[in-house]
Symmetry: C2
Subunit: 158 residues, 2 copies
DNA sequence: GTCGCTGCAAAGTCTTTGCAGAGAG
DNA sequence: CTCTCTGCAAAGACTTTGCAGCGAC
């Protein structure tokens, strides 16, 4: 059996394109393009991490202190982006959701329960089977998410 | 390829056995067996649903009004049960977690995004691959969860 | 009897909302 | 100019914690 599992984490879209999509989305809905919205998108784009609203807030405060961005705006923008399928949220374990840009190719997550590190991957075989399962159970599949929990290489050494 | 996907939802353990395990667990940790704890376990056992702490609370208030069980006790007991791996929590979408007894065989979930119905299933092929993926990425897998989102048969008709 | 458990209410988190002024189109 | 956005602070939703009396062992 060929190995079809890929450790996946590269960005698949140019920032310019993403930004254009975002502006287009805003225009289509009669919404305005503001500096806060742009910065949030940019931070999500440039982060390799899955960010919590609070982490995103801190990031903005540190990198763009002149904005004095309020946490409420972060939440509002993330909701907007999530509703428009531009970002995806992951909710696991304790409290709080983490967000990531949805502009990357689809992938699943493997999460270290010790340090919280998240690695992304795709496995064709699983993707195919999920579709099959949904059909078998009479569902029309729209989305899915899979998380594997475990201990990462680094934490195993400790 | 043989079909190894199963629609799975039956209970695989007698209540008596479960209760004995629970008592055993409590004794082992120097904890006490109380009527509240028993009722919570029983409600989880008898429910086909995945319950939120609040739903569980309401259920107890209605079925055992004499207990006047406090929501705090529900939370405390659920945490206890979760820490001991007797129940599993699912957190998805909006806010709040839902709990289910872990005494059933392992399974994954397919969730209707319209009505919130949750169907359980197991697919051997996916189970096997998950283990493989974790190993490939240098993780020691401890657990995993998978959710498929879609529209169920009933909601598709609407 | 001892020591953990419980309900209650208060305190915490995280997230959402109301509002008046700021700013995009 | 108009009408949406924003920051702030207040309000909400959900969960946890402190405490004094209660109850399992």
């Amino acid at each position: 059996m060929p190995n079809k599992t890929t450790d996946f984490s590269e960005r698949t879209i140019e920032y310019g394109t993403l930004l254009a999509d975002f502006k287009e989305l805003l225009k289509r809905n009669g919404l305005k393009f503001t500096i806060q919205r742009e910065v949030i998108l940019e931070m999500l784009y440039n982060s390799d991490e899955h960010l919590t609203p609070e982490a995103l807030h801190q990031l903005i405060i540190h990198k763009r202190p002149e904005l004095k961005a309020g946490i409420a705006t972060i939440y509002r923008t993330l909701s907007l982006l999530e509703d428009s399928d531009m970002v995806t949220s992951l909710s696991f374990g304790a409290q709080g959701k983490k967000y990531e840009l949805g502009a990357k190719d689809h992938h699943d997550h493997i999460i270290c329960t010790e340090c919280g590190e998240i690695t992304e991957f795709v496995d064709e075989e699983i993707e195919t089977r999920q579709q099959l399962i949904a059909t078998e159970l009479g569902f029309k599949m729209s989305d899915h998410s899979m998380q594997i929990y475990g201990t990462c290489k680094t934490c195993q050494k400790k």
